[in-house]
């Protein structure tokens, strides 16, 4: 769509302006009038479903508008001094009941497909032809007032707390209210399962570019999944009112190649709080220096 082209151009211009930072993909751009660019198959499905429904509801609204304009023009007191008195017409009543039903059915079918895509963990066939979970790794996310705890149970169970970078500490290439001191890191091209919970009040782990929004609820363990191929930095924000600093517990997520991820894991198992240096080193080799401000 035209909007999307404009959006991509806009992102490109931002990247160009900010030089050689790691490629930021998941972020809103000013004056944007579309969904964020999809980074996962789920978000792609959401985007295309949204486009379809947007078309339908736009047309419905325009039809209503056109009818209104028509009666205003054609049946105003000047144009039509003598009102007719009819108040029934079975045929049109049947039409305007049946057509919306049909439209809703048209919406519902892909809607359910999308829903099950989002909610059911992906599976694959193993060599023996059995259906097994396609999940490659699990990360556990815990919402706290007002930061996130990320734990990597499959990689030795280390965990760390990720907080917002305060406005006055924002370095080059970082984004106010979006950048976190310690990012969550995942490998590209892997199916990641997220377990989401909270320690105090309800939070919500939301990542627009992934099409994910999952409540983090004390006493419950929610589950969702994503699969990203595009390397880059993605931003999300807490999306359930959680008190004073609800606006200030953002999510920063780096998708990196498997080997970088492995190095990061090795470092993090040692000390998660210095592990981002691995990322900085990697970005430097890519000519992307700005993330040195990470710590």
């Amino acid at each position: 769509m035209r909007f999307q082209a404009a959006l991509i151009a806009f992102i490109a211009s931002i990247l160009f302006a900010s030089g050689a930072s790691a490629t930021v993909r998941g972020i809103a751009t000013d004056k944007q009038v579309s969904l964020q660019e999809a980074a996962t198959p789920v978000m792609e499905a959401i985007t295309s479903f949204h486009s379809m429904v947007l078309w339908i509801i736009t047309i419905i609204t325009l039809v209503v508008l056109a009818l209104l304009l028509w009666v205003i023009v054609r049946y105003n007191a000047k144009a039509n001094p003598n009102p007719s008195k009819f108040s029934h017409n079975t045929l049109v009543e049947i039409i305007w009941t049946a057509v919306p039903v049909l439209i809703l059915v048209v919406i519902a079918v892909p809607s359910f497909r999308l829903l099950y895509l989002e909610d059911v963990l992906p599976t694959e066939q193993n060599e023996a032809g059995e259906t097994v979970s396609a999940v490659d790794m699990t990360i556990k996310v815990t919402g706290n007032q007002w930061n996130w705890t990320y734990a990597y149970p499959d990689q030795g169970g280390f965990e760390f707390i990720s907080s917002m970078v305060a406005a006055e500490d924002i370095g080059p290439g970082q984004h106010r209210n979006l950048s976190a001191d310690l990012p969550m890191v995942v490998p590209a091209g892997q199916t990641v399962r997220l377990e989401v919970t909270a320690s105090d009040v309800i939070h919500n782990w939301a990542m627009p570019a992934f099409g994910i929004k999952m409540d983090a609820i004390p006493g419950r363990l929610n589950e969702t999944w994503f699969y990203v191929e595009q390397e880059g930095v993605y931003f999300g924000q807490c999306s359930e009112l959680c008190g004073r600093d609800h606006s200030f517990m953002p999510i920063e997520l780096h998708v990196v190649p498997q080997d970088v991820f492995d190095r990061w894991i090795a470092a993090a198992q040692n000390d998660p709080y210095t592990a981002p240096e691995v990322l900085t080193a990697y970005y430097q080799t890519q000519g992307e220096t700005q993330l040195a401000a990470l710590r």
């Binding site: 377990e195 919970t197 006493g219 419950r220 363990l221 929610n222 589950e223």
Partner: protein, 298 residues
């Protein structure tokens, strides 16, 4: 429509102070309740501390007194109007609608408590049909803190059963009173009402006794919370219903009820049946179906 004598049977009520006084009392009661629970003034030196300091019940008591005063005054006016003949058949019908609708709203209030109860009882270990719940047990340790796990509930077939029988019996006595007044049998009405009031009072006493012997508290478990709040609200309704019936008895004694006009009594009877049915549900589910380990005692 200008002027002219009133040619309809509706009741145009005189201006009345009660609604305003009641609202003001509700306001005072609310402030008093918050004061009592949390305190609105913390500075002990302040003159307002006496009224607004934590744990001080004075405003709350004032609010309750105000509301009690309004109830007496307002319903007293209603009785006066009834005696004056304002309650024509069509007004009487309106009162019936009103009472039925009020009971419907009360039913919906209990729906909230039962919903809570059933959710805990049925899905306590599998919240909202959540498919990945197995791991949740680690978190809240639901296995040990589940619905009735570790709770000694009451043996339903001791006191609760007796209480059930008491309420069922009282349902029949109130019906007796109702039929008696319809047939002009004042003596039967009086005995029926008196018995109902006594049975209602007995129920309350038994319930209080039972509460004092509970081996679980209102806090710490969802079962305890649901049990005490649901049966507690039911108990409050029993008390209200008992008072309602008592007022009817006094009115019968004062000769205010006739075979033709006795809606007060009828409304009290409806209310009583409603309270009765709520109990049957409580008994069936809170006591019988979802009982945990039954406590030895009463």
């Amino acid at each position: 429509m200008a002027g002219g004598a009133v040619k309809h049977d509706y009741h145009l009520v005189d201006p009345s102070p009660w609604p305003f006084v009641a609202s003001l009392s509700a306001f005072i009661l609310a402030i008093g309740a918050v004061t009592f629970m949390k305190g609105l003034v913390t500075d002990e030196a302040s003159w307002a501390y006496f009224f607004l300091g934590k744990g001080h019940p004075w405003l709350m008591i004032l609010g309750f007194l105000g509301i009690g005063y309004v109830m007496v005054g307002w319903w007293g006016d209603v009785i006066k109007e009834s005696l004056k003949g304002d309650h024509t058949p069509v007004v009487d019908l309106g009162l019936r609608y009103g009472m039925i609708l009020f009971i419907v709203s009360e039913i919906m209030f209990f729906v909230a408590w039962f919903w809570m109860f059933f959710e805990g009882a049925l899905f306590g270990h599998d919240r909202a049909g959540h498919r990945w719940n197995t791991e949740m047990y680690e978190l809240g340790d639901w296995a040990t803190q589940g619905f009735t796990a570790g709770i000694h509930t009451f043996d339903p077939f001791h006191l609760p059963l007796i209480n059930t029988l008491i309420l069922l019996l009282s349902g029949t006595t109130v019906t007796w009173a109702h039929h008696a007044i319809q047939h002009g049998d004042r003596k039967g009405t009086k005995i029926g009402l008196l018995l109902t009031v006594i049975l209602g009072f007995l129920f309350t006493c038994m319930q209080a006794y039972e509460y004092s012997h509970a081996q679980f508290g209102i806090s710490g478990s969802l079962y305890g919370a649901s049990f005490f709040m649901a049966t507690g609200f039911h108990g409050a309704h029993v008390i209200i219903g008992t008072v309602f019936l008592l007022v009817c008895l006094l009115r019968v004694l004062a000769g205010q009820m006739t075979p033709q006009k006795h809606f007060g009594l009828e409304a009290a009877a409806w209310y009583w049946h409603f309270v009765d049915v709520v109990w049957l549900f409580l008994f069936a589910f809170v006591y019988v179906v979802f009982q945990g380990a039954v406590s030895g005692g009463h």
